[in-house]
Symmetry: D2
Subunit: 335 residues, 4 copies
Amino acid sequence: GVEAKGIAELPALHYREHLAKDLYYSMPITSVLFNGRSKFQSVQIFSTKHFGKVLVLDNKMQSAQSDECLYHESLVHPALLSHPHPEAVFIGGGGEGATLREVLRHKNVKRVVMVDIDQIAVKMCRDNLPEWNGGVYDDPRVEVIYDDAGKYLATSGERFDVVIMDISDPIEAGPGWVLYTKEFYQKLKRDSLREHGVLCTQSTACSVNMITEGFTVINQTLKKVRTAGQKLWVLPVCFQVFAHVCPYRIDIPSFGAPWGFHICSDNAEFLLSPDTPPGEIDELLEARLGADQIVKLKHYEGYAHRHMFSLSKYERLACEREKRLLSTDNPVFVE
Amino acid sequence: GVEAKGIAELPALHYREHLAKDLYYSMPITSVLFNGRSKFQSVQIFSTKHFGKVLVLDNKMQSAQSDECLYHESLVHPALLSHPHPEAVFIGGGGEGATLREVLRHKNVKRVVMVDIDQIAVKMCRDNLPEWNGGVYDDPRVEVIYDDAGKYLATSGERFDVVIMDISDPIEAGPGWVLYTKEFYQKLKRDSLREHGVLCTQSTACSVNMITEGFTVINQTLKKVRTAGQKLWVLPVCFQVFAHVCPYRIDIPSFGAPWGFHICSDNAEFLLSPDTPPGEIDELLEARLGADQIVKLKHYEGYAHRHMFSLSKYERLACEREKRLLSTDNPVFVE
Amino acid sequence: GVEAKGIAELPALHYREHLAKDLYYSMPITSVLFNGRSKFQSVQIFSTKHFGKVLVLDNKMQSAQSDECLYHESLVHPALLSHPHPEAVFIGGGGEGATLREVLRHKNVKRVVMVDIDQIAVKMCRDNLPEWNGGVYDDPRVEVIYDDAGKYLATSGERFDVVIMDISDPIEAGPGWVLYTKEFYQKLKRDSLREHGVLCTQSTACSVNMITEGFTVINQTLKKVRTAGQKLWVLPVCFQVFAHVCPYRIDIPSFGAPWGFHICSDNAEFLLSPDTPPGEIDELLEARLGADQIVKLKHYEGYAHRHMFSLSKYERLACEREKRLLSTDNPVFVE
Amino acid sequence: GVEAKGIAELPALHYREHLAKDLYYSMPITSVLFNGRSKFQSVQIFSTKHFGKVLVLDNKMQSAQSDECLYHESLVHPALLSHPHPEAVFIGGGGEGATLREVLRHKNVKRVVMVDIDQIAVKMCRDNLPEWNGGVYDDPRVEVIYDDAGKYLATSGERFDVVIMDISDPIEAGPGWVLYTKEFYQKLKRDSLREHGVLCTQSTACSVNMITEGFTVINQTLKKVRTAGQKLWVLPVCFQVFAHVCPYRIDIPSFGAPWGFHICSDNAEFLLSPDTPPGEIDELLEARLGADQIVKLKHYEGYAHRHMFSLSKYERLACEREKRLLSTDNPVFVE
């Protein structure tokens, strides 16, 4: 047949991923798999030429087929390797099912509870993104609950070895900013973590021009939380919810920025740091996952870990200079 | 509740209506009602903030809720008023159903055959655009056939009082460019029109910077067609398929340009021209439609007719200077 | 040499002409001739691929090389033909110099005063747009003054046969909205027009989706102005500043919309209307301009005039339904 | 005064940084400092709201005020620290003057020759970007030559301790793709480097979806170059131009991607690697620059070095799987 030419061939439908009000990525959409709104947020699943299928919540890209491995491997493996025997894992959010996929690679894991507030978003991901959640919902270790993650933790009484917060950025209109507050972290540690418990949370963009919008605030919220009335000179050690707080980040092209995370634990012995020799991480990874799973990883290994946990000078200084904390009284919103 | 702010509120999905490769309108899409591809063309139906619902075929807007009345009233009423007793009407294309709607306002009309090649496009319009085709398919005067309009005319043997060509622009990849050729017009007049028969065809954009892409070529194809071997000095009157060819146009905001049409007939007596007094048109319109239908017209009346049929100097000169014809051997494609 | 390919060839710099906040034309800029800000407004002159050179004030396109003839011929010739002996002409605004160019084609004209508030904008147009103002500033009939047009009229005491208001739209931030108020029109008629005086003003966009933003308000301001305390039943004739107010419009592709104008006069005899036979206009035009100037016109002639002055039903109805007036107390701003 | 509102306030001029044909960043331009074309390439300097001033050559961003420190510190310091006594430094390209700025921080350096082919680009940067080259051209250690870097090296006979290639990507139309070929690297090492000589070259984008466009090819060109006729089993050591080739990268927001580099040397002793303890780098940096210069660095220090030199699994694998080399016969162009 005749090949189409001219305007009929130009991309007509475009998605804009805004980094700021007038600053955005523009990418053509080849098909619209879902374009709706749940009770909590707008939910969109598109096929794109450059990033494959993408999930967009409230106009922010959550995952792209081409590089979701970077996000999900980085979110899950350092946290689980930081725990001596991670058996019970909690995932807050995680609608794509890909965080679940990475957690299930760990042979130690016996139970994973995923609590996502948005059943429509989860269902749409199950239906439309099988490439990144295929089979995970059939795994007998998995329980999926549609509820607010904070509420579940507060009311269930269950304790976990690792808690992974895979939720949307703390935007003003979004469902989840409370899950970045000092109050949440304090309660989480006290009531929901077992001994040696590890918390890992996604922590917003980390680029030189956006790092102070959310990342440094989350960093300080995790590092400097103190209870009301406490003074700095009295009990400095107690000010911090977790004894160890490790920031790290990895560049994710579809997010248009390097992306930040934090791992927190009281247990120095198992906590992985930028100084851990890459070979040790590779050995630990093999012991925990086995060669058959390791070969499926696209990004994470010893040197990748070192890469992520070694900060630049501007990142180090930005955290040091941050004075703000996220609290229920004083939320700090990402745009 | 708290109002959403920031990036979550910015429009994320945008449609581009290209006037040329790098020149386009950009408009936000509020929902995607259909985004697919039929056997013949890409078919998209969106809701937009500025133009309401829109139908897009092969990346060109065909109708927008906010101004489809301008296009459909202009396409239908001058043609039907140009015929003394329009009883049988043929619509080539017309997938939205709105051309049908306007034709059915004429009390003389006893039969309308609409032949659209694309059943999927027609079905999607029936399902999603009831505001502009509500009820027309239930009218007993209407017959809808899914086929090539040219093939139907060639094989059915049926003759009509008015033929309305409401088809896509003659783009290289599109299904319909043959329906703009001299061969089609010659055959149409000979085999498919009754005595006093009128042809009306949409004729592409008419703006000062696009008029020579298609409009002037269609104008000359209708005006100067002659059969092979004929010489100009032998039978000058016969060179022209129709004795009278009247170009006209109306600006349609959602198309980003004034839009061109042509009415053709051999019957000078009834042919409406820029010199027809507006009052006569208003009288004729009332006789044919009745006051109850006239009140539903948003654009067409006597002065609107005069407006459309009075050309500017550049339009007149552009047609006079055009040398090209559209033939099956030498198609001229719109970009 | 090797031809450049790939990204280096894509257009990198784009101008957006907004019709509304999220609805815009996007066009590539091939060069930036001026990009600055005067005391009154932002001033930009670009070269574009599709429209040639363009002048942009406060982000609204004022003229494009490809179609400025449509705007300037439409603004000037109906007004001057509407006056029996136009000798003294006032131009408010007119920074491009193209309104001046059209006025100077009229042999009757003995004096033209152009008062533009923005010397920088005028100078940049003189330097960068010689194609559309070449030589006009050397014509001994021309006087150019850099001041507020309203202030000049109020203080100079000079009276004119024709006043042409070629100023920016009445936007909130712009320098000129006062020049669209009833107070201005009343004072203008009383103090600045000679007998048989004619006023013509550009009157903002006229498309079906924008006509009520400014056009219909200007229409009613010109038509229904009455002095305070007057009642409708007392002196109905006096309510209107001018006895005759004729709206008209022409589509201008680079503006993305049909554009509106109004001509006002007390003198019915010479006022041109949609019913004036095109042949009479062509004769009058020839008498006033001469064949050597007529050949330079690209748009205006008898049928073009009829085209512009014949309104559509929606335009007629939109004006009839409008209740608002523009006054200094109650400005109505175009977005 | 009254604040401007509406369309007059929207950004009208936008720059698009294309990552691929239809995938781009869009950012508003607040002013145009230069928009021209030299004999070699298009040259644009804009002010932007989000990235400050930016330099764009052939439609690719070369530096942005907000993050040029990331690029220039990463390009210069690892290379100079990799040499035991860097006294003579060559910069190929480097038009912004910021590479020069970073080189001049090193106290060992006695002579820097910067050879940039494009005098207009360099002059425009000197005039418009003083923030990132202030004073460097007055330093007596600096010589600037406007010529082809390859030609200068070939004809001058001068040898250097460190050669830094700070040139545009190897695009088909660009002036510099020859400077990424094996022939250039072979000749450079043989004729232009002193003993212990170090080469550092920028090496195009390194993101998961673009790494194979240029980065892996440059990696293999540097790693696997052999002279014609040589066989793998004969002289394996000779196959490689440099005994040590270290890839590294850093994310640069204004480039929309992590950016790649390579350092090459025969001298293992001084070559910095991902295993060098951060503390050693910090000590070396202090010895070479002094505390007064170190405080001016925004990005580079020991952990930042480790971050950059530790590759991810996909980066490691992408390089291992690459088969192509860049040669004058078989150029591989980046889009």
